[in-house]
């Protein structure tokens, strides 16, 4: 019997295929393409305490095998999320991961506290490169990762995921800080800081100048970081960054990810999560793999 379940902080996901924050809205839209109940979990659009209008358009630019986005955390705010968005998702039996961003540790803590009874997991976004205040600083210093994780840990008893920024010299160090502060899981990578210039108008393409790079272009970097984190921590890892098909997913799991998450691929292939899941299942059957942890290259030796 193949077992695809994944244990994260004591909570079981029925399989390791997740969808990434900010690429899947609050779920509604993709329900036209397949049954959500087949997903391991849904990570919803990043939310903040107060509603945010987000950045001025343009907000997206296609790059070679990637995209730059500058959404700037547009969201209806914590309370509207709980009231207006969650009820739809609750109709499904799929675990919900709330992705939160704060300007201060207090904001993170308050949000985590309020969400504690409403969602299944909390994911701390300490890495969004689009927002000038907050975000960026938390994710690039191990001390701040430690601190914000520790404080949020105090106010929530549901599993806590810390989502790391790839814009750092030593990702392993950040992961270790999160683990030491009580995180149940590390997710990575968020977008890489990139930029584009509108050469015809001689100005940065985005109002915010920098924007977040994602998609197949970043996969080799994401995979390397998952590998590095897997050498460092003993908690589960959710790998993401450019995953487009089941082969990519297997690469991430071999590198050390316990689960994987699909982001940008939803845009060009709305059925990507379903196809990846089916591909992994077939791979397991063909190769006689009962437990996906078996395929980790370092076999859990850390």
């Amino acid at each position: 019997m193949i077992d695809m379940t994944v244990n994260i902080g004591g909570r079981r996901l029925k399989n390791p295929v997740l969808v990434s924050s900010g690429t899947f809205g609050f779920g509604k839209e993709y329900s036209n393409f397949y049954d959500f109940n087949l997903l391991g979990a849904i990570t919803v659009k990043g939310i903040t305490l107060k509603p945010r209008k987000g950045n001025k358009p343009p907000r997206i630019m296609e790059t070679s095998a990637g995209i730059l986005n500058s959404v700037g955390l547009e969201n209806p705010g914590l309370y509207s999320f709980i009231e207006n968005e969650l009820p739809f998702l609750k109709k499904y039996s799929v675990p919900i991961i709330a992705n939160i961003s704060g300007n201060t540790i207090e904001e993170y803590s308050l949000m985590a506290k309020e969400l504690n009874e409403h969602v299944d997991f909390i994911e701390l976004n300490v890495s969004c490169p689009n927002v000038k205040e907050g975000g960026i600083t938390f994710g690039t210093k191990p001390e701040s990762v430690y601190e914000v994780t520790r404080e949020v840990r105090k106010v929530t008893n549901i599993p806590l995921i810390v989502k790391l920024s790839p814009n750092v010299t030593d990702i392993g160090e950040m992961a270790l800080a999160a683990e030491n502060a009580g995180a149940d899981c590390i997710s990575l990578i968020n977008t890489l800081m990139g930029m584009a210039i509108d050469i015809y108008n001689r100005k940065p393409f985005f109002n915010n100048v920098v924007a977040g790079l994602s998609g197949p272009a970043v996969k080799p970097i994401a995979l390397r970081m998952v590998w590095q984190v897997a050498q460092k921590v003993n908690i589960p890892i959710i790998g993401m960054g450019g995953i487009s098909n089941w082969q990519d997913a297997i690469e991430f799991m071999m590198a050390g990810a316990d689960a994987i998450s699909i982001g940008t691929a939803n845009f060009y292939n709305p059925l990507a999560p379903k196809e990846v899941l089916e591909g992994i299942k077939e791979y397991m059957i063909e190769n006689g793999i009962n437990d996906l942890r078996e395929i980790k290259i370092n076999g859990g030796v850390k």
Binding site: T23, F24, P57, R59, I60, I67, A217, F267
Partner: protein, 251 residues
């Protein structure tokens, strides 16, 4: 809305850099409304990566034919132009909110350049609209518009065909004849039409463009300025067709 691999029936050049493609999808064509668009994958590989939004230009709902009109301007549309009849395209659609149809109002349809694409099927459904089409120099699809309306006026910047000038100049003169104006074209044209209609208290619907990610409302990248300063509209699901009063076209 669905995702389908659709067969290409034909694909040929109708003007310099402008192509007309007919694809086959019974189910999409049955659901589709004027003003809606398809989100089309230009490549099997990852460069270009994203789908391209292309308006529905005409529909043959019996045969399942969907006509698209597109201008080659970048990587994706260049690949569209290379597609051969019999090939398949990966398509999501129909997407977005289309033009509201009021049969008993006197309507004007005004389009500029490739912006005429969604207006053909609209003029077919409206039956009695007056049509103003503007081009730089070379014209295309004018015969098709003439099939659907007796009142098609053609303008070119160069004066090489039709009347020399811009269609909005003519619309301006006749604006009081109309209850409603439908428009699609370059942003500065839409801006002028919005101003003209609002000044004359004529209802006005504009089809807007913005770069897209998902095309279905999930990623929030297709934001356009709205008249409500607190929020952006999403072109992909709140539009692409907006009442002129909903959107803010100032730069």
């Amino acid at each position: 809305m669905r995702r389908e691999f659709c067969k290409i029936i034909s694909n040929f050049r109708v003007a310099n850099n402008v192509y007309k493609m007919v694809i086959e999808s019974k189910s999409i064509s049955k659901e589709a409304l004027p003003g809606q668009f398809l989100h089309i994958k230009p490549s099997q590989n990852y460069d270009p990566l994203l789908r391209r939004p292309i308006s529905i230009c005409d529909l043959d709902q019996d045969k399942g034919g969907i006509t698209l009109l597109y201008r080659v301007c970048g990587k994706g549309t260049r690949l569209f132009a290379e597609i051969k009849p019999g090939d398949n395209l990966d398509i999501i659609g129909p997407l977005g909110k289309g033009f509201p149809i009021f049969q008993n109002k006197k309507s004007a349809i005004i389009g500029g350049g490739i912006g005429i694409a969604p207006l053909l099927i609209l003029s077919k459904w409206l039956k009695e609209a007056d049509i103003y089409l503007g081009y730089k120099d070379e014209t295309y699809m004018t015969d098709e518009f003439m099939n659907y309306s007796d009142d098609v006026c053609i303008y070119t910047e160069s004066g090489s065909r039709g009347t020399k000038g811009y269609p909005i100049e003519a619309l301006e003169k006749n604006i009081n004849r109309y209850d409603i104006v439908y428009a699609c074209g370059p942003k500065q044209m839409l801006r002028a039409i919005k101003r003209l209609c609002e000044k004359n208290l004529v209802e006005c619907y504009l089809s807007m463009e913005e770069r897209m990610g998902c095309g279905i409302g999930a990623c929030l990248v297709c934001a356009c300025e709205s008249s409500n300063n607190d929020e952006y509209k999403k072109v992909c699901i709140d539009g692409p067709v907006f009442n002129s009063k909903e959107v803010n076209l100032d730069d």
